[in-house]
Structure formats: C-alpha cells, structure tokens
C-alpha cells in the first residue's frame, strides 16, 4: 500500500480526480477549505477516514519505513488488509431492500409442496455510493418505499434533494467487493436484479417477544416443581460461582431480557420466482420477522456468485432503463446547491415566490400554471 498521507496534502489531486470520475462524483471538493501547503504537515492530529486512521502525529509517523518497497511483507492489519480479508465474503453486486408480504407455497408438477416467502420490492432505488477513497469501503446505499416529507427531518430532506429522489422510507447499505459493484444513483432496482435459481441471503429483524425469562429466552431448565421449592419454578437460579470464580457475574451471562427483534440472516435461500409487475421476489423457505417487515436481500455469500454474464446483463438492463441517471443526479445536485445557497442567505422565500416556480414549471413536462407545481 502506498504511504498514507493526510488528506490535506493531496486535496489538490483529489479535486482534480473527482472532476473526471463519474461514479465517485458524490465527493464534492470543498471550496472553502483553508489554503494548505503540501510541504508543511499539520502539527495537530486529526483522526478519521479523511485524514488517515492513525492518531499518531503526522510527523511521528513511522509507516514510511515499513513499506512493501522496503522489502517488508504487506501489513496484515489496517483498513487495506481488512478489506482484502473480507474480499471473498463480500458480494460482487449490491442487494435490495424488500418488504415481507407473507408466506405461501409453490406446488410442483411432481406433487411436491415448496413453502416460500414473498418479498416485495417497493420503489427500490439506489441512493448513494460509498467509495474506498471517501468512506473506506465500497457500498451502495439503497432506499425503499416512500415517505411523507412531514416525517423527514430537514437534513435528510436536503440529502434527498441533492439526490433528486423522493424521500425514502428505509435506507440501507450493501457492501460490495470493489468499485465495479457500484451503481448509478437514482435507478430503480427491480426484482429481475435476481434470477430464478440463484441463492440469496435474506436478513431481517425477528419478531420481538418483549421481556422474556431465562426459560423462554435461552432454554434454561427452570427449577423443580416440588421438593421444597418455593416460588422459584421458572427463575434462572444462580448467575455464577462464588469466591473461586471471582464473586462476580461474567460478561455475557445469559439472563432474562428482551427477546427477539434482532437481526436474523437466512443463508442460501434459492430464488423461486421474480416478477417485475408484481414487484416480488419469492424465496424458498422462511424469513424472520412479521409480515410487513423490511428485509435485505443480497447474493449469497456462501455460494458461488451469480455468473458473470448475468451480472453484466443485469447491469446493462439497469443502464438501459435509466440512461440519464447521472445527468439527473448532476442536475439535482446543481439545483440543490442553488437552493442551499438560497437557504443560507435567507432568500429561499423570494426564490419560492418567483424564480423557482417558473423554473419548476419549465422543467415539468406538463405545461401548466406555476401554482399547480407550487
């Protein structure tokens, strides 16, 4: 790995890079960054992905001596090594969010009954891309459904405004192996993102059981019904040894508490059916959680990934359906910056009253009164 320098030092490079890159255009060059010299390293230590993860003072950094070029093996720790380690278990493609609609069965021609779960993709859109350069990993942020603007906070409204998409009900990130897994922002992912017969991992939060005792929650035996037992039939009993064990309760001791409502992953579920019209993906078997819960579907980690041909095909279909996704994103961002500036300067009201309305009317394909849009 190349020597990690604080981001300030290569900011000039970064800005140049982002202008030509299309996928990573999310990274906006900071116009208002203080003028820094590349030669003088800052004295203060700032930790974070932008500045490098080390808390060491940049002057005291010794990594420049421990490079591969110095004949040393590549480090086995650190972000790069971690990414490399997880490469095999990170899916190639992004996943989707869906809503569990319930269970049913498929009846086979030979008479077999296959229980299955119906998952619906409701207006699933890509919202953002996370990149190694900016965020330290590759991921696609995906949104599901739609939400009334009443229930969205102002910061998020601004976020969606910048993306040019409607506020989403749910947002989730799907880690992908490398930059080739990133997707154009704002495109809709339909059920044909998966193909029948492939394996997927489905994650969801299980049904919450509320506060449960040790017997129900962890399968403890409970205590005797008789033999002098007094009012302690379902209690957990002792929670640890006496003096010899340190006279304390060990961390992680199983005890009564909230049961359920935790992430459950069903691995390697075969996809039985995909239907764009109904917006459904049907997977074999059961998925945790009640009807209406949000689930994450992604290519199975423990099975071979979908064939390269299909990966390319699904990608191509996506680009054909939304050929101008990047332009829309760019336009939305420009508009967002204008509006942001207006908000900051307090002239949003005037803008609303006059300029924006006319502009919106011009932008909308329905020719109509400005007040309609407004």
């Amino acid at each position: 790995m190349a020597p990690r320098l604080p981001a300030r030092c290569w900011r000039q490079l970064q800005t140049h890079h982002h202008q030509q890159s299309t996928i990573t255009t999310l990274v906006r060059p900071r116009a208002s960054s203080p003028p820094t010299t590349t030669l003088l390293l800052p004295r203060t230590t700032t930790r974070g992905v932008k500045y490098g993860w080390s808390t060491l003072s940049p002057r005291a950094k010794v990594t420049r001596f421990n490079q591969v070029t110095a004949g040393l093996p590549a480090p086995t720790t650190g972000p790069a090594a971690a990414l490399k380690r997880r490469e095999r278990t990170t899916p190639v493609r992004a996943g989707v969010l869906a809503i569990k609609k319930g269970m049913t069965a498929f009846m086979g021609k030979a008479g077999a009954r296959i229980p299955c779960t119906v998952l619906q993709l409701d207006r699933v859109q890509t919202v953002a891309n996370k990149t190694r350069a900016k965020n330290g990993y590759f991921a696609v942020q995906v949104g599901l459904g739609e939400k009334s603007a009443d229930n969205v906070t102002a910061p998020l409204l601004g976020y969606f405004e910048a993306k040019g998409i409607a506020p989403k009900r749910e947002l989730a990130e799907f880690k992908v192996r490398d930059a080739s897994g990133l997707l154009p922002v704002g495109v809709q992912l339909l059920p044909d993102w998966f193909h029948v017969g492939q394996w997927v991992d489905v994650r969801a939060n299980s049904r919450g059981m509320g506060f449960a005792g040790g017997m129900k929650r962890h399968g403890f035996k409970g205590q005797e019904a008789s033999h002098g037992n007094s009012k302690n039939h379902r209690t957990i009993g002792t929670v640890g040894p006496s003096q010899g064990g340190g006279s304390r309760v060990y961390p992680g001791k199983k005890m009564p508490g909230r049961m359920g409502n935790e992430r459950v992953t069903m691995q390697n579920l075969p996809v039985l059916m995909v239907d764009n019209d109904l917006g459904i993906v049907v997977v074999k078997g059961c998925v945790a959680g009640p009807k209406g819960c949000v689930v994450k579907i992604q290519d199975a980690v423990k099975k071979p990934p979908p064939p390269q041909k299909f990966v390319e095909h699904s990608r191509k279909v996506l680009e054909e359906r939304f050929p101008d996704a990047e332009e829309v994103l760019e336009a939305a961002r420009k508009r967002h910056l204008e509006l942001k500036e207006a908000r900051r300067e307090g002239r949003i009201e005037q803008l609303l009253a006059a300029g924006v309305i006319q502009e919106a009317a011009a932008a909308s394909p329905i020719p109509g009164d400005a007040s309609v849009v407004y």
Partner: protein, 131 residues
C-alpha cells in the same frame, strides 16, 4: 412424538398389547412414524395371556420383555412432502427383533405410509391398510 415412558399400543400378534418406550434408536429426542424404538412390554393381549401357559408358541413375548419396535401410528401430525398431513387417534407400534424382522405374523391395524420411505416393507406388506 413418543419419548421415554410413552405408552404405545402394540398392534401385531406378538402377544404384547401395550408397551412402554424406554429408548429411541438414533440421535433423536422424539420418535415419529417409521422410527425404531426400544420398548418394554407392559400388558399382554388377553388371548395370549390366557393361552401362554398352555402353548408358548402363541404368545411370543410376555410382560417385562424388552424388545425393539417400529412406530407405525402417532397422534402427532406428520407432514408429507406434498403438504398433506396425517394424524391418527392413537400411538401404535409393531415389535421387531434385533435384525429388523417383525416378531408377530400379522398386523391388525392401519399403518402410516412413512414406513415405505423408511424401508419397513415387511411391516407394510403385513398391514391391512396404509394411510
């Protein structure tokens, strides 16, 4: 759902009427149709009990005998591959010897179809009906 201490009807002519489960063969907690279990004869069938002193051949087992058996009916529902479910009104078994051959020569009641899948063809051929 048969387990230790379950009392099961014996529906062959081995001489046992009611047997008690003392063990399930295989790493199982509960026995279902087609599972092999170890039983103790608790009650002999009346005909055999009377004629036991006269002829030892009619009653092959007697009270207190420990035998192997195959579960052929359960009250617990058993789901099949096509989604159909069968449930009987009682739990019943057929005694077998260690080699897996039935002790009796006749089976008097209906047995579950799961026996076919579990390769208990001798018991199936002896049974008057299967469901």
């Amino acid at each position: 759902m048969l387990q230790l201490k379950s009392l099961i009807n014996c529906i062959d002519n081995s001489g046992a009427a009611v047997v008690e489960c003392i063990q399930i063969i295989g790493q199982k907690k509960l026995a279902s149709i087609g599972d092999r279990i170890v039983v103790v004869v608790q009650k002999q069938s009346p005909g055999h009990a009377a004629g036991m002193s006269a002829s030892s051949s009619s009653g092959k087992v007697k009270r207190g005998d420990m035998r192997h058996a195959v579960v052929v009916r359960t009250k617990q529902r058993v789901t099949r591959r096509d989604g159909s479910v069968v449930r009987f009104d009682d739990n019943a078994c057929v005694l077998i010897n260690k080699a897996g051959d039935p002790v009796g020569t006749r089976v008097n009641g209906i047995v579950g179809q799961e026996l076919r899948k579990r390769k208990w063809s001798k018991i199936l051929s002896m049974a008057p009906m299967q469901a």
